[in-house]
């Protein structure tokens, strides 16, 4: 594997008419993920007047700015100067992180693609459940849909592709797997990821003061439960999930 800290990364590129993307790699890896989170934090701290919004993806920091107030060349110079301030790849994870334990029903009618996913990973269904439910995965980014986590990284066996055709509608709370990652859906959505588990965990609560539950850096364990227990947990917005502070 190439040295992550070689001269190639980070790369600064424009994104659309009014954005920049600062990428710390082109493959998912933990140092690049931490670098992206840390650089976003630094950008927010810098409080640049032309910057309107920032976010992160798996290995990049994004910012939206006003190109009518500040030209692209000057914005780029500012970013390059800020990047020179430190080695972002050795940044630590954000503070205030939590570990969530989320009750999950694996397989059956509620999560019909467990078997197919297990086969793709070369495992029996029981082995697949044991592998996923014992994996402590980390929120690498929130994206695609509101509050939706990309979680990783699973053991190598789970390096299975997305399906070429989409599931018409995977329900909210659905736990899906592909490419050594898990995603958990806040809203019903079509997806190419395989639906292996079902939770009652509400990731997006627009009517409350805390609409988004998970943060990048949080860790999650999807612990097995029964369909009967999950039905009971539907009334609770946390779906029976409990959290503890870890950092």
């Amino acid at each position: 594997m190439k040295d992550l800290q070689d001269a190639t990364w980070p790369k600064v590129k424009t994104a659309g008419f009014d954005g920049f993307l600062i990428s710390f790699g082109d493959q998912l890896n933990e140092p690049a993920n931490r670098a992206a989170l840390a650089f976003r934090d630094a950008l927010e701290q810098a409080g640049l007047a032309a910057v309107q919004e920032t976010s992160t993806s798996l290995v990049s920091t994004y910012l939206r700015f006003d190109p009518l107030a500040l030209d692209h060349a000057t914005m780029r110079e500012t970013l390059v100067a800020l990047l020179k301030g430190r080695n972002w790849f050795d940044a630590s994870l954000p503070r205030g992180r939590k570990l969530w334990r989320v009750p999950t029903v694996y397989g059956g009618d509620l999560a019909p693609q467990l078997e197919g996913a297990a086969t793709a990973a070369g495992l029996t269904s029981a082995e697949a459940i044991a592998s996923i439910s014992s994996s402590r995965v980390r929120v690498q980014t929130i994206g695609f849909a509101p509050g939706m986590p990309y979680l990783g990284e699973l053991p190598e066996a789970w390096n299975i592709p997305r399906q070429t055709s989409l599931n018409a509608q995977t329900p909210a709370g659905g736990l899906c797997v592909a490419i050594r990652q898990l995603v958990l859906f806040p809203v019903a959505t079509p997806t190419g990821w395989r639906h292996i588990g079902q939770t009652a965990f509400r990731l997006f609560r627009p009517e409350t003061d805390a609409p988004f539950v998970l943060r990048p850096g949080d860790e999650v364990m999807f612990e097995q439960t029964t369909p009967e227990a999950l039905t009971q947990m539907q009334k609770d917005p946390d779906g029976g999930a409990v959290s503890e502070d870890i950092a």
Partner: protein, 341 residues
Amino acid sequence: MSRYLKVLRAGPAMTVQDEGRAGYLAFGLSRGGAVDSLALLEGAALLGQDPSHAALEMGGIGGEFEVSEEIRIALTGAPMRASIDGVNIQWNASHLIDAGARLSIGAATSGSYGYLHLGGGIAGKAVLGARSAHLAAGIGELVRDGDALPIGRDAQALAGQKITAEARFDGGSVRIVPSLQTEFFAPSEIARFETTAFKRDTRGNRMGVRIIPEGEGFKTEAGLSILSEVIVPGDVQVTGDGTPFVLLSECQTTGGYPRIGSVLPMDLPRVAQARAGATLQFKFLTLEEAVTLEQREAARRKTLRASVKPMIRNPHDIADLLSYQLISGATAGDDLEKDIS
């Protein structure tokens, strides 16, 4: 709720929309808001109010409405057949509606999204700082038959104004800038993208529209192995079979397919308004050229309110023409002819 808009019949794609909710990209929530952002500005100019007021966005077809008390409205975006108690009214104009009068808005005659603005705006509870429905995120709902939408207080009374809307309802040429993944496409593919005519597919909504190329799809050197990356409205995402999608205001916040470029914000209403079957073509500009054009457009938009003019009514539309005092006040005599169009 003293002031409200009663929806007697709602078209199939009617939602409350404003400028959307910025600031939640890091949480996976796109800004959303009216897909034709210019239509919001035109409506605000007609009513002399701030563009932050929420309006009704009507996809393809309008509906039937009544108001609880006399209210000012403005109609912008895709032109639709509209009448008050059976009397035709102009699009791109403001009107006064009496309590109990029936406002009928039919199918769009061109374009996709029409807007009904109300003096004082649509009120009601804001969610995360905006009243926009964001159906993909599960915020808000479609407007349905029987809904009563509260209307804010209106400090003004001026109606009967018109505005010249920028033509953007029949497809046409759209400007695009290179973006973070443009280099994944060979120069020959980019050149072909610029010379290809695209037809707007029937598949399209507030998240994005599919555009079908004349000839074969577009290939990338990176293939389909790229990591999911930030996506923004305007991005032209090329899916697995080589068919592009142009993303609109309610798009997802990350995407796994490569982007060949990104449409200028000022040209995005043209893409959103193109109907199924309309032809779109793309022309690459440098970012510097794009900034110059956007600056010019921003300056033009500042003059929108000043460009509003009193409407001169078409005599065919004046039900009680004979009761009008037509001969007091001498004029050049061509007032009515000026606005027959």
